[in-house]
């Protein structure tokens, strides 16, 4: 029972990681860029949400409605002024540029919000829970997981069936050939980044509701998102989702064994997947 509980809590934790991983999978799939500041952007949005909640009498839904447009704007700025300049075959410039951005963002947040941990005022939802067969489930984590499923499914459908999705897949496969057939890669990139950061905006609200955030937390979130994407298999959204579940369960089980082992277990599972199935658990056979 104790282990079943650990697995269920792990899956719920995985819902949170899936929201971080989705944006990363999308951006890497399209632009071959890993944004090192991915986690820091999420933390920045969380801190903005917390500050907004202090001045505006908005409910949690209201906060989401406010933060997502801010996130889209942030994504657009990120794309326009940084990422568009470093997209290319050589991964070094994009890595270094976003690494510099990550350090600058982290310390900027430290200046503005100080090193204190903060969270959104508890409106009841964060501590509400219900019981199924002797296992207690938090309402909020279940909501987060459901949200992650809907987002993954929705994004997957958009990529499969919409005009934008076709353009995006074409640009990912061969940017120049796609450009010749009338796809505008810059526009595709901008939309992909905007979507990725918008998802982070949603994740930011959940993260601030669920636990505390502090300016230096971004790196850990980046690593979890990255591990989920690799465990699942690059280029697959459902893969990233599944990878997030595996990571969450690994961490929850490690945590039950010893409180110091939770995160380490996640890393070890990641390394084990890399050693035995480097193409990821969801990748199609070649």
């Amino acid at each position: 029972m104790q282990w079943l509980d650990a697995i269920i809590q792990g899956v719920l934790l995985g819902g949170m990681y899936a929201q971080y991983a989705l944006g990363m999978a999308l951006m890497f799939g399209v632009m071959r860029i890993v944004n090192i500041a991915h986690g820091d952007v999420m933390i920045l949005l969380s801190l903005i949400v917390i500050s907004l909640a202090g001045v505006l009498p908005l409910g949690n839904i209201g906060l989401i409605v406010v933060i997502v447009p801010i996130a889209v704007l942030l994504g657009w700025v990120l794309q326009k002024f940084i990422l568009n300049k470093v997209v290319g075959a050589d991964p070094l410039p994009s890595l270094i540029a976003t690494f510099g951005l990550s350090i600058a963002l982290q310390n900027l947040m430290l200046e503005v919000w100080s090193a204190d941990t903060r969270s959104l005022p508890n409106s009841g939802i964060a501590s509400a829970s219900f019981e199924i067969g002797g296992i207690y489930l938090g309402v909020l984590p279940v909501l987060v997981l459901m949200c992650a499923v809907v987002l993954t499914g929705g994004l997957d459908a958009v990529l499969r069936y919409s005009r934008f999705g076709r353009g995006l897949r074409a640009a990912a496969a061969d940017t120049e050939a796609a450009a010749m057939t009338g796809v505008d890669p810059k526009r595709i990139y901008a939309i992909a980044t905007a979507i990725a950061v918008a998802i982070l905006g949603l994740a930011a609200v959940f993260a601030a509701l669920r636990a505390t955030v502090s300016p230096s937390d971004g790196s850990a979130q980046l690593i979890y998102a990255f591990e989920a994407v690799i465990i699942g298999g690059m280029g697959s959204l459902w893969g990233a989702f599944l990878g997030a579940m595996v990571l969450g369960v690994a961490q929850a089980i490690g945590l039950r064994i010893d409180p110091g082992l939770g995160i380490l277990f996640g890393h070890l599972v990641f390394l084990a997947v890399l050693a035995t199935r480097p193409e990821g658990i969801m990748a199609r056979k070649k």
């Binding site: 470093v86 890595l95 390394l271």
Partner: protein, 336 residues
């Protein structure tokens, strides 16, 4: 047609490199004699600067030549430091001998790390190295033998007088600089250096010319791990204390990236210029804490966007005066 020239020879040294080489000898002699003329505060600075120079040079070799961008070099700094502390403190080995023996640890860690991560694409390789470093840090903080999160203290150093310690430190630092900077220079001038330069410019073209890119990358990764670990062992021996949070601090990676990018990636001189800039900037502005780090981060961002060659790249535009020339120049002479 008569022969247009009679004699051809390959020239490698330039006037600027002769001056630089003489300066290097003077600096090394100055460093080694420091215990007899400098204050212990200055010696501490010299140790720190030597470690920065070595770590940055190793990162430059990795990212600038082998195309292996790592943000996990702190793994090798930490394991070498811990190995030194265990050998000297727990096994009672002479700490100055233990420094050399502790280089086994980064080498042993580097082999499986590379074999695991080589499958990852450029940016994913980078974050992969970070995960390995985090995994090693968390493992270390869970081992009671290593005093878990509290870290170790090098109490055995008290058996040496301060003067003795300083002599040993400056000798180790000189050895470190010769091994990392001198070693990189020697490597880049050798046959392997030609292959590395070709790989830096285009790995696929280099492979088609017969360069074994995979094997070369592996060798560079292990060599850089050992060089980085050497610096780490010296650094934490001077600190007399190591904890998982400090030894495996991701800030080591940030620092290497900053130094090499600002100085100029893909050039030995670049890493040296960058290390000097970072060292003095840290002395002058370090007290501003996070504001200073915001500037460092933005500077790295701007250089990655607009001036990939860094400061050394800008200097080179003013005139080509290499300190460590790795190219070969064919000089044709008419002896008649």
């Amino acid at each position: 047609m008569t022969q247009p020239f009679q004699h051809a020879r390959v020239v490698r040294a330039t006037p600027s490199s002769r001056i630089a080489m003489s300066l290097c000898v003077i600096v090394l002699v100055g460093l080694v004699t420091m215990p007899w003329w400098a204050s212990s505060g200055n010696i501490r600075w010299a140790i720190e600067l030597s470690c920065y120079l070595a770590i940055a040079q190793m990162w430059n070799l990795l990212a600038g030549y082998a195309g292996l961008v790592s943000v996990g070099q702190q793994a090798f700094i930490g394991v070498a430091g811990y190995m030194l502390f265990v050998l000297a403190q727990n096994f009672g080995l002479n700490p100055f001998v233990a420094v050399i023996l502790s280089l086994i640890a980064p080498a042993v860690l580097a082999v499986p790390t590379y074999l695991l991560l080589r499958r990852l694409d450029g940016p994913y390789f980078a974050i992969g190295t970070w995960v390995v470093a985090e995994a090693v840090r968390l493992t270390t903080s869970n081992i009671d033998y290593l005093n878990a999160g509290a870290g170790l203290t090098l109490r055995v150093m008290t058996q040496y007088s301060q003067h003795e310690r300083e002599i040993a430190f400056v000798l180790l630092c000189a050895l470190l600089l010769v091994a990392t900077i001198g070693g990189s220079y020697w490597l880049l001038r050798s046959r392997v250096g030609l292959a590395l330069t070709a790989m830096r410019d285009n790995p696929i073209a280099a492979a088609s010319q017969g360069v074994n890119v995979g094997q070369l990358r592996f060798l560079i990764f292990v060599a850089a791990a050992v060089g980085t670990g050497f610096a780490g062992a010296i650094y934490y021996m001077a600190q007399l204390r190591i904890t998982p949070a400090a030894g495996f601090d991701p800030f080591w990676a940030s620092m290497s990236i900053f130094i090499v990018m600002v100085g100029g990636i893909g050039a030995i001189e670049g890493a040296i210029v960058g290390a000097l800039i970072y060292f003095f900037a840290d002395r002058l502005f370090g007290e501003y804490g996070s504001a200073y780090l915001i500037v460092l981060g933005l500077l790295t961002l701007i250089i990655a966007l607009y001036a990939r060659g860094g400061v050394w790249g800008l200097l080179k535009k003013l005139g080509d005066h290499p300190w460590f020339p790795v190219q070969r120049k064919l000089v044709l002479e008419d002896k008649r």
